[in-house]
């Protein structure tokens, strides 16, 4: 199928994460892709546009005048019955925010890549998860990828998860700017027929539609003080939360099915790496996890009983999976690629605190912040992380946050 960058293996290509995402889009067959370029997402929408131009993707390309309209045209299309996709990040995401926030409330199964970017000010055009972390309470499903192959696979799975009738929520597949967007590796492309089977018929507007054959009023006033107002609003909110909880199951089932059909397996919610006999663990999210695992391997060789926990699904928050993972260790270090200003730590660290509360014993924990604005988190950085984390077992505490790139 691919006609560029062929490898020796059938159905495999060499490409970066942005192109891999474009291939995923071509395989998922959305009806509409709306685009507006922004670094480091731009090449993704260029690939998609070119694929559409070349007839590789049979979708309406809406190259609109800004991200606000990007999400808005997808609203219209989705309410009319379309399967839809877009990608953005950073400032574009902030500009999209008004319709973005509205999407899950209308339970529209829109899929969007967030090619994570730091910023907005101090100005930066490089990677960092500050943008994605800002989306935590918008009600979207959020999945973070570690590898280019995972970007491709997760993006296809996202459509199935979003359109699942127990879920009906939009999904963000986050892949890190620079490291995944531009990182080139070999990628295996699934067979189109199998993807078609895997995704099935699109199913986007059975519950809410703009269709003369099914006239209804979409998003009327709800709530207020009148009779039934508060309870109706509460019902909508509760069902949204229930959809989120259902998603934990659906995401898992979807990954199982993916493995069955395509042979590649990922931990759907939380990945445990060399954790079973570990005394302590580091916690990662996104592309840094690869370097983290390497560092764990090195430390293991040196006799450290360290493991790694990677959060793949961050929204809904995988409380049960994390609780059982953390129950296996005695100390943790959490590496964030963004900042929670109010808590003076990383946002993942902040949320892990809530998991710790579920445990019988208190675990000592350190917040590490690294990789901001495109900075690398190297094996050396992880070695420091592992060291500081491990020292907690001997009662040597480090006060966080530890800014990994502070002196570079």
């Amino acid at each position: 199928m691919p006609d560029t960058a062929l490898t020796n293996e059938p159905n495999s290509i060499v490409c970066d994460g942005n192109e891999a995402a474009a291939w995923a889009v071509s395989l998922a067959k959305p009806d509409m892709v709306a685009v507006y370029p922004i670094t480091p997402q731009s090449s993704l929408v260029e690939y998609v546009s070119q694929f559409i131009a070349d007839g590789k993707i049979d979708a309406d390309l809406m190259d609109v005048e800004g991200e606000h309209s990007v999400m808005s045209v997808l609203h219209g299309a989705c309410l009319a019955g379309a399967r839809t996709y877009t990608a953005t990040c950073g400032p574009g995401l902030y500009y999209m925010f008004e319709p973005y926030v509205r999407t899950p409330g209308m339970r529209l199964p829109i899929v969007m890549s967030v090619v994570t970017r730091d910023g907005l000010t101090p100005q930066s055009v490089w990677g960092g998860q500050q943008d994605a972390m800002m989306l935590r309470e918008t009600g979207w499903i959020q999945i973070y990828c570690e590898s280019v192959q995972e970007v491709l696979d997760s993006l296809i799975m996202a459509f199935r998860i979003a359109e699942h009738r127990d879920v009906m929520l939009p999904v963000n597949i986050c892949h890190d700017g620079n490291y995944l967007s531009y990182g080139v590796t070999k990628v295996i492309l699934p067979e189109q027929e199998m993807v078609d089977d895997f995704l099935g018929e699109k199913d986007t507007n059975w519950h809410v539609a703009l269709d003369p054959d099914r006239p209804m009023s979409v998003d009327p006033l709800t709530g207020g003080e009148g009779p039934g107002g508060p309870s109706t609003f509460v019902r909508y909110r509760k069902s949204h939360c229930a959809g989120m909880q259902n998603a934990l199951r659906v995401i898992t089932e979807t990954h199982d099915e993916w493995e069955r059909m395509f042979g590649r397996s990922y931990a759907p919610l939380v990945e445990e790496y060399r954790l079973d006999d570990a005394d302590y663990a580091i916690i990662t999210i996104g592309s840094m996890s690869g370097a983290g695992k390497d560092a764990v391997d090195v430390a293991r060789e040196q006799g450290e009983k360290v493991g790694l926990i990677r959060i793949k699904t961050f929204r809904p928050f995988p409380m049960a999976a994390l609780t059982s993972a953390l129950a296996k260790v005695k100390a943790i270090g959490v590496v964030d690629r963004s900042v929670s200003f109010a808590w003076n730590c990383g946002p993942v660290y902040q949320e892990i605190q809530a998991v710790l509360y579920q445990l019988e014993e208190r675990l000592p924990a350190i917040s590490f912040i690294g990789g901001l604005a495109g900075a690398d988190i190297t094996g050396e950085h992880f070695a420091r992380v592992i060291e500081s984390t491990g020292k907690q077992l001997a009662g040597e505490m480090t006060e966080g946050p530890v800014w990994l790139n502070e002196n570079e």
Binding site: D31, G76, V218, T222
Partner: protein, 450 residues
């Protein structure tokens, strides 16, 4: 349902008392120019010099002359709307004249019987003879006849204010366009009056939604593209206020216009955020009182002219751009037809001047009069534009009234001083001059306005 009928309207402010209508009527009906035989009478008003009033049959819907007639010689023709008089049956009892409070059926001593207007079979001689336009043959009833049977696509009892122009507009508009639509009513009066409604209780019988104030055109564009993709022909209609159009919604509209998205975008311009407490918008006219351009010691209302949105849309080279006023329904209906057709090719934009009784401080019953005066003073001009044919005035006003005659009708202009009035009059002239120039350049027509 009954049917509506064309009428002869009298614009008292335009009558100069020349009496040509009476001469022509006498001639048409009796073959002489003796105005004793005229079936309409222009009388000088005692109230003011050079002011005139009219006595003429109003062709009442429920005419008392007919009920008073003992011989069956007067009837109401429900087809034509005329109350014809049959001399054959008349017994000259004059009881009809007792029933008429308009002086519309009168005794003609020279002829020895009563006489009354019969509308000249739908081509009234008096109207054609009137040099000032004081008499007008108003055919807007045809709209009622042609479209009155169509279903009103909104429920009764929308919560609009009394005298709301927007409610009138949306009912007419959707009745005409029909139900194979997707309708967007962004935040504003139209949504606020209950078209989208409350959870479980909608005010519309058609697919309707509440876009954001900012993304009406984009949402419609997305829906339309998908319907095109699956081969379904569905019309997209935006019923948006000026805030959602010229301010916050401008970008998405401009983008959609540039891309030629297929939709009918109707801006109902009531010059401000009337649904939320009458704040200023980019479409608020110079000098207007609003709750954010208040009048006090140092502030005297808005200090900038309104954004000229229809012209801006024209500059996007949309498939169709037109301005409209509900005081001229026939004009609006024609434009609505053209706009709906154009919306299948690209973006059609209708800008409807829409006085707001509540926010403008006008009595609810005079909304239509304010609409009319806006046009007669050239404060609002009625025109249409297509890329091929350029700009054309659909209802040119040859002798515009001074703009004060429009401004005086609204409380929001009550505080204006002379300087402000001059500013407004000048900007009215400038706008007309621009349109004239643009018309010449685009249509080659010489039919300029004054």
């Amino acid at each position: 349902m009954g049917i509506g009928h064309n009428t002869i309207a009298f614009h008292q402010d335009k009558c100069d008392g020349c009496g040509d209508c009476m001469t022509v009527c006498a001639e048409a009906k009796s073959g002489t120019t003796d105005t004793q035989h005229s079936r309409l009478k222009i009388v000088p008003s005692v109230a003011a010099n050079d002011s005139f009033e009219l006595a003429m049959c109003r062709q009442c819907g429920d005419p008392k002359c007919v009920l008073n007639c003992p011989s069956g010689s007067l009837t109401k023709d429900h087809e034509t709307g005329v109350v014809p008089w049959d001399q054959e049956k008349c017994v000259d009892c004059l009881l009809c004249t007792v029933g008429c409070a308009y002086g519309g059926i009168t005794y003609n001593a020279a002829a020895g019987h009563v006489m009354k207007c019969d509308m000249c079979d739908g081509d009234p001689a008096c109207v054609k003879s009137c040099p000032t336009g004081a008499l007008e043959y108003n055919k807007s009833a045809e709209i009622y006849n042609n479209y009155g049977e169509l279903e009103d696509l909104f429920v009764p009892g929308l919560a609009a204010c009394q005298g709301c122009n927007s409610e009138l507009l949306i009912r007419h508009t959707m009745r005409k366009i029909g139900s194979n639509v997707v309708v967007a009513t962004p935040p504003g009066c139209i949504a606020g009056m209950g078209t989208v409604g409350f959870n479980g209780k909608t005010g519309s019988k058609i697919p309707v939604f509440h876009p954001l104030l900012t993304n009406t055109a984009s949402m419609l564009a997305g829906a339309k593209r998908y319907y095109n993709r699956i081969g379904r022909d569905v019309t997209m209609v935006a019923l948006a206020g000026d805030g959602g159009t010229v301010d916050a919604g401008f970008q998405s509209l401009s983008g959609a216009a540039e891309r030629g998205e297929q939709m009918l975008y109707i801006c109902v311009d009531n010059e401000g955020y009337m649904n939320t407490g009458m704040q200023r918008s980019g479409s608020t006219s110079f000098g207007s009182w609003t709750s954010t351009t208040p009048v006090g010691e140092t502030l005297r209302g808005k200090t900038q002219d309104a954004k000229n949105m229809p012209v801006i849309m024209m500059m996007h080279n949309c498939e169709y751009v037109a301005t409209a006023s509900l005081a001229f329904m026939d004009d609006y209906y024609e434009k609505l037809d053209k706009a709906t057709a154009a919306a299948e090719r690209g973006l059609a934009y209708l800008h409807v001047y829409s006085p707001c009784p509540t926010g403008w401080r006008i009595p609810p019953e005079s909304t239509n009069e304010v609409c009319r005066k806006a046009v007669e003073t050239n404060f609002a001009t009625l025109w249409e534009f297509t890329p091929d044919e350029g700009l054309r005035f659909t209802r040119p006003v040859d002798n515009p009234l001074p703009v004060e005659q429009y401004l005086n009708l609204s409380g929001k202009y009550r505080h204006l001083d002379d300087e402000q009035l001059t500013h407004i009059q000048n900007s009215v002239k400038r706008k007309v001059a621009f349109l004239n120039g643009f018309m010449l350049a685009t249509s080659g027509s010489e039919a300029q306005m004054q």
